[in-house]
């Protein structure tokens, strides 16, 4: 239970958003043991859980593990104490971005913004548009361009987007959810 008195902690805020009590975490590390990104990140899921229970949002904002989470759910499905680290990371990413929209590493920011822009503009993902926007936003410049012809010859890439009829409804959703234009 939340103590009725005392300042609101990060753990309280996470609990309000997700219903998950990060103080349940045993710090057993089973999440990090199975995390596919643990080899590449300095801060692993159990570290994030620890920082969350220690009120350290600043530290979490700078954690590579927060941003490179694949949302593969392995941590949550194996957590012994039902702490659902994947949901906690979702919530912490959301909180970090509300205060500091530019926290995420540049390529990731570029990818997610480009992705959402496509959805906002057409109602569906226009993959060619996504790749182009991603590159101009600062994604690795030549990494994937070479493969685009292969995609085209296999009929996998469309040159023009398909728009849905009721695009206004999708735009309304974006607006109502407080998503600003990328």
């Amino acid at each position: 239970m939340n103590h009725p008195h005392g300042p609101e902690t990060l753990a309280d805020r996470v609990r309000q958003r997700t219903g998950i009590n990060v103080r349940r975490c045993y710090q057993c590390g089973k999440c990090s043991a199975g995390c596919p990104m643990a080899e590449e990140t300095a801060v692993r899921p159990h570290d994030v859980m620890r920082m969350a229970s220690q009120d350290d949002l600043e530290g979490i904002r700078q954690a590579d593990g927060l941003w490179y989470c694949l949302t593969c759910e392995t941590c949550s499905v194996r957590c012994p104490n039902q702490c659902d680290p994947a949901r906690v990371l979702d919530a912490l990413r959301e909180m970090a971005q509300e205060d500091h929209p530019d926290d995420a590493p540049r390529p990731l920011r570029a990818f997610h913004r480009s992705f959402l822009d496509q959805v906002r503009s057409h109602g569906r993902l226009f993959e060619m548009g996504l790749i182009m926007a991603f590159k101009t936003r600062g994604g690795p410049l030549f990494a994937d361009v070479t493969t685009a012809p292969g995609m085209l010859s296999r009929g996998k890439l469309h040159l023009a987007p398909t728009r849905i009829r009721d695009l206004q409804e999708v735009r309304r959703i974006f607006e109502a959810c407080g998503q600003r234009e990328g």
Binding site: Q27, K30, C31, S32, A33, G34, E39, P80
Partner: protein, 673 residues
């Protein structure tokens, strides 16, 4: 004219923090009939009780209200005090201003007002209390012990050695329980069999113990001092009078491929079997689900194989034996049904228990559980005490032990700590090291819990002297690469992922109550928690009693326990039982229903609603000896004072002593609702 005394307790800060006790005493003092009202820090202490006694004597009190904790806690204490001052103890009542008030409220004003209300209702009740006399009931001075593991054995021997008869019921073919499966025991590494088997023999030979092995409790009737227990003696298909235990039948059985329960599936047994060589009683049993003859009978085919019967020189094999029900009269019951280990990856009768697919138990043969490791390490086990892995019989050079499998894991098991695993894993690493000198034992743990005499020293020895490598973290998964097991874990202390190879993995599985414990608890009318562990009457002060008088609890059926704790608890139940058997008569509280013969219409509605079967029929005769009426009669020995008869009697002719309609109505009226 009533002269009531009221005593308001602060219970330290428990009540005083949220209830203004002085104001409660003050408010109550002005009620009609109240002649004395005081408050005190600890009313249950000696000075507090003296205050009660003194007031009774000096003020000539006709009733006492103690506004304090729950009657469960201290009603007896204050009734004894009242009695000591010459007041009938049933003229003393508790007003519960702790559990019902201070513990559940935060607002001091409102809580104080509520405490005053509660105390006032009790004052009105006590004004109408009548002096009552305790009831005397006879005691059958024999005990029933359910479960023949180490706890049941200890309880049975202690009671029998104390001079009373014991009936010991064990559902398996042999007594001995899980302890008989263990290799060596922590923290002294003494041989389990060497200390247990002599006790098993003692049970068998004891003149005051009647052993029913391969038997189960069918039903329980009666009450403390007077239980009547029906026991199902399951058909062994072997006549125990004739069998001399020669073993020729088990040798002759052609179906020798039944996975042995005793060896945890690592060994085989025939369909007619003695679970292990040191079994008590040393009698074979036919497993009818595996015996060819019975399998044929189930399909309506004629009997074919009778090899065991042909091999028996005593004619002891009896294929037509039936279950028998025997009835025993006892005065006390000890529940000692023990535990089962968490069954990994299997449906265990509880929907929320899922098993550990990520560890491959059941698909990877070299992933075994803790009890299986005990059998590998046991001199009498399937490998004669050599540590050999199940897949290829090779000696594993690297063994990884995972703790908390099913324990502290609400996602896949239970939230509680199973208490014994930290110790048995440390023991396993030592047993392994003693047998495989160049082997490496690695333990993945969350916390090491080794609180007990010599326990921490034991786990430290495993780490410091015996070279077990302890890694703080849980393992995410185990997979196979050729004949090597790949273990993926995380060392939370160094902050590094760990990928290591192992030849065998041992899962330290949790402790759960035995299957079927709920059904048994319902027969005994004792409460149990949501995991199925039997509840003790009070976690500190009545640890071996249950919610039903005369039924006691010992060992791992109450909570995860190791051998020393189980034995201590068993001896404690024995002392409770012997204390109960100290006299031929037993005193009981008179809070029982009494029928008014003159008004009873003889409809026997009470007989139908009574949950305890306490209502009997009584004939009323005239002077000539002819029956003129039949009325209800409540057997005070059986009545539990629940009041159902009183609430439902159409003619209002049965009343619960101490809780009459008038008393309860006055209580309600006192609230001014």
């Amino acid at each position: 004219m009533a002269r009531i005394g009221v005593f308001v307790c602060h219970c330290g800060e428990n009540i005083g923090r949220t209830v203004d006790c002085a104001r409660v005493a003050e408010a109550i003092r002005n009620l009609p009939g109240v002649v004395h009202s005081v408050d005190y820090k600890y009313m249950c202490s000696d000075p507090g009780q003296q205050m009660v006694k003194q007031a009774i004597a000096e003020q000539g009190l006709t009733g006492v209200v103690v506004a304090a904790c729950s009657p469960h806690m201290h009603e007896k204490t204050f009734r004894r005090a009242a009695s000591g001052a010459g007041l009938n103890p049933f003229l003393c009542e508790m007003a519960n201003i702790r559990e019902h008030c201070s513990w559940i409220h935060e607002d001091r004003e409102a809580a104080t007002a509520k405490a005053i209300d509660i105390a006032r209702t009790l004052v009105e009740k006590v004004k109408r209390n009548r002096p009552l006399q305790t009831i005397q009931i006879p005691v059958t001075r024999r005990a029933l012990v359910i479960g023949g593991g180490i706890a049941g054995i200890q309880a049975a021997l202690d009671i029998a050695d104390g001079g009373r008869e014991v009936v010991l019921v064990e559902k398996e073919p042999s007594i001995g329980g899980h302890m008989s499966q263990l290799s060596e025991t922590f923290p002294t590494l003494d041989c389990s069999q060497c200390i247990l088997t002599p006790r098993m023999v003692e049970v068998y030979q004891h003149p005051r113990i009647r052993l029913y092995a391969y038997s189960e409790v069918e039903s329980v009737q009666g009450y403390i001092g007077n239980f009547r227990v029906a026991i199902r003696r399951k058909a062994r298909s072997v006549d125990e009078e004739k069998c001399n235990g020669c073993g020729a039948c088990t040798q002759a059985c052609p179906n020798r491929k039944v996975p042995s329960e005793f060896e945890c599936g690592l060994g085989k047994r025939p369909a007619i079997y003695v679970p292990f060589p040191q079994a008590v009683p040393n009698l074979p049993t036919i497993d009818r689900s595996r015996c060819l003859l019975f399998l044929n009978r189930a399909k309506g085919r004629p009997d074919t194989c009778k090899k065991c019967a042909e091999a028996c020189s005593k004619g002891a094999i009896d294929f037509d034996q039936q279950d028998r029900i025997v009835t025993e009269e006892v005065g006390a019951i000890v529940v000692a049904t023990g535990y089962q280990v968490y069954s990994i990856g299997k449906q265990t009768g509880r929907d929320d228990i899922q098993g550990y697919g990520e560890y491959g138990y059941g698909t990877l043969p070299d992933v075994i559980d803790g009890l299986q490791f005990e059998r590998l390490a046991s001199a009498s086990g399937p490998t004669a005490g050599r540590i050999l892995r199940p897949s290829d019989g090779k000696e594993p050079r690297r063994v990884v032990f995972l703790q908390c499998i099913g324990s502290r894991d609400p996602a896949k098991g239970m939230e509680y700590c199973s208490k014994i695993c930290c110790m048995y894993v440390a023991k396993h690493t030592m047993l392994y090291k003693h047998k495989v000198h160049d082997g490496q034992a690695t333990v993945f743990y969350m916390d090491i819990r080794a609180a007990g005499k010599g326990y921490d020293e034991f786990t430290r020895r495993a780490i410091e002297e015996e070279g077990a490598r302890y890694v703080r973290g849980r393992v995410s998964r185990i997979w196979r690469d050729g004949d090597v097991l790949k273990v993926e874990g995380f060392d939370t202390l160094s902050g590094r992922p760990i990928r290591m190879d192992a030849d065998m993995v041992v899962l330290a599985t949790a402790v759960r109550p035995q299957p079927g414990i709920e059904a048994l608890a319902q027969k005994l009318n004792v409460s149990y928690d949501r995991h199925g562990f039997i509840n003790e009457a009070h976690p500190k002060l009545r640890p071996v009693e249950t919610s039903t008088a005369g039924v006691f609890v010992a060992g791992a059926c109450q909570a995860p326990r190791d051998i020393p704790d189980s034995v201590a608890m068993a001896s404690a139940t024995a002392s409770k039982v012997l204390g109960l058997f100290a006299s031929e008569m037993l005193e009981r509280e008179p809070t029982v229903a009494v029928v008014d013969d003159a008004r009873c219409a003889g409809c026997f509605h009470c007989e139908r609603v009574c949950p305890y079967g306490a209502v009997e029929r009584r004939e009323i005769r005239n002077r000539a000896g002819q029956v003129v009426r039949v009325v209800a009669y409540v057997n005070p020995g059986v009545c539990q004072g629940c009041g159902t008869c009183q609430a439902t009697c159409p003619s209002k002719s049965v009343e619960l002593q101490g809780f009459t309609d008038e008393q309860v109505f006055q209580q309600i009226q006192a609230l001014g609702l």
